[in-house]
Subunit: 251 residues, 2 copies
DNA sequence: CTGACTATGGTCAGTACGACTATAAAGGGG
DNA sequence: CCCCTTTATAGTCGTACTGACCATAGTCAG
């Protein structure tokens, strides 16, 4: 549009658009909310109570309201779904838009998908007018409703790729974290094991990725030598990137 | 939506949606069509004939029809705009969706933006019911209509980044090309000069990036030693990536 | 005290990359 | 026809990065 108003389907609208000269679309957002918990990649899902796909798991989401952008709708839905009032430290990123005409059997729905990363996963709040949201392990998910399998796969791929060349991994971590926790984020998302000394060397050699918390604070959680605490630096990109092993060697 | 039908704005629609229980959105596509021509990055633009932004350049695009996906709409609009019947060798990639409520002063328009790369730029066809599309140099563009400056900047950034770790550059080249042409794609999009022997070594060392045309075909265009011809290989990703110089050294 | 466990520090060789020099093959101008 | 410009291609060399290791330090469970 905009280059050629006359192309509006259903009629010509030379000056202002005729609001109903074209088929209206419902615009929604779908959220792939990821976290690393208990050493596994987990996703926030809701159980559908109605047809179609009753009983199946689906990504949380909802309609975009007339006065808000898709980003605002995503933040609002996420707050409602998780009950998380403070969305600081949240990474929310637009994935892509899914617009196949038959993706919702009831009507034409165009959905803008987002990937969101949470550091410390709060239990989804119970109070709500709809099905309860729950964290489920990314592996061993049955088929989801609609095209949500594809959305989730795209989100996983995107996050995995961005770990390589951005500092995104810190978005999975609490404000203070150890390098072991950071490494576990990489290993969990990528599904591979990394060499610990090499990972450490690489992260510390990247200026602005992490910075050590000055007051020699140390986390004593379980056994083993206590680890130094770090917080996220101000860098956004990783140069050179931290490539995942699976994508490098090709014997 | 889909997790909680009751959240449809404007009313509850327990089973099927009430088609007009929510504010309808117009859904459009906007195309950032890029090519490398005459040693410069060029963009396909149309001149607006009507308010708002009359006389300004805008990205080509149009409404998504009720029965087609955004991708299909993008292909259709591109064919109409360029008159290019064969869209083989075309790279079309969804960029992101722009949904700010006030991005079009007339009404609520949600636009799915695409980046398209053309190898050999055909002159845009004259026949059409709207303003003529033209190739303009990416530099020295005045402000575009709507938020199209931002869309174009995002497209440029995305393409520049994907040159680093994918084989996308071949999408800017004709079916047979020399390594010099391929290098010029990188230099034009990135706006930097590259060392020729090093570029050559890197490209040839990446398996599946390009493969030499067997029948010692050589292009004799201008002066200098004739160059060997190559075609795109079957690889999609570059490992390790070909990083642009600007993003590496940071003195 | 001992052993398991984790964090941290270091070595070493293979590889990739930037900067650079050299050679080959064409056309143009005298 | 010779020389010079132009472009393609080949190779060299030192530095930086990386993967695969080995070694040490600090804490907890028994």
């Amino acid at each position: 549009m905009r280059g050629k108003e006359s192309r509006a389907p259903g009629g010509t609208a030379p000056e202002g658009y005729d609001k109903y000269a074209f088929e209206p679309f419902a615009v929604t957002v779908d959220l792939a909310v990821l976290t690393v918990r208990a050493g596994a990649l987990q996703v926030l899902l809701v159980e559908r109570g109605q047809e179609p796909y009753a009983g199946r798991w689906a990504l949380p989401g909802g309609f975009v309201l007339p006065h808000e952008s898709a980003e605002a709708a995503a933040r609002r839905e996420l707050a409602e779904e998780t009950g998380l009032s403070d969305l600081s430290g949240l990474h929310l990123e637009q994935l892509r838009t899914y617009s196949e005409p038959d993706r919702d059997p009831r009507m034409r729905v165009v959905s803008v998908a987002f990937a969101a990363l949470l550091p410390d996963p709060p239990e989804p709040r119970g109070g709500g007018d709809a099905a309860q949201a729950q964290w489920l392990r990314f592996n061993a998910l049955g088929p989801l409703a609609f095209d949500h399998d594809r959305i989730l796969a795209d989100a996983h791929e995107r996050v995995g790729a961005k770990l390589e060349y951005t500092c995104l991994a810190t978005s999975f971590c609490p404000p203070r974290f150890t390098l072991g926790e950071l490494q576990q984020v990489y290993e969990t998302v990528w599904g591979t094991a990394l060499d610990r000394p090499n990972f450490r060397r690489k992260v510390l050699a990247t200026p602005g990725f992490v910075e050590q918390v000055p007051g020699a604070a140390r986390l004593t959680g379980g056994r083993g030598k206590p680890a130094a605490l770090y917080r996220a630096g101000d860098a956004k990109a990783l140069h050179p990137p931290l490539l995942r092993p699976s994508s490098e060697g090709r014997p």
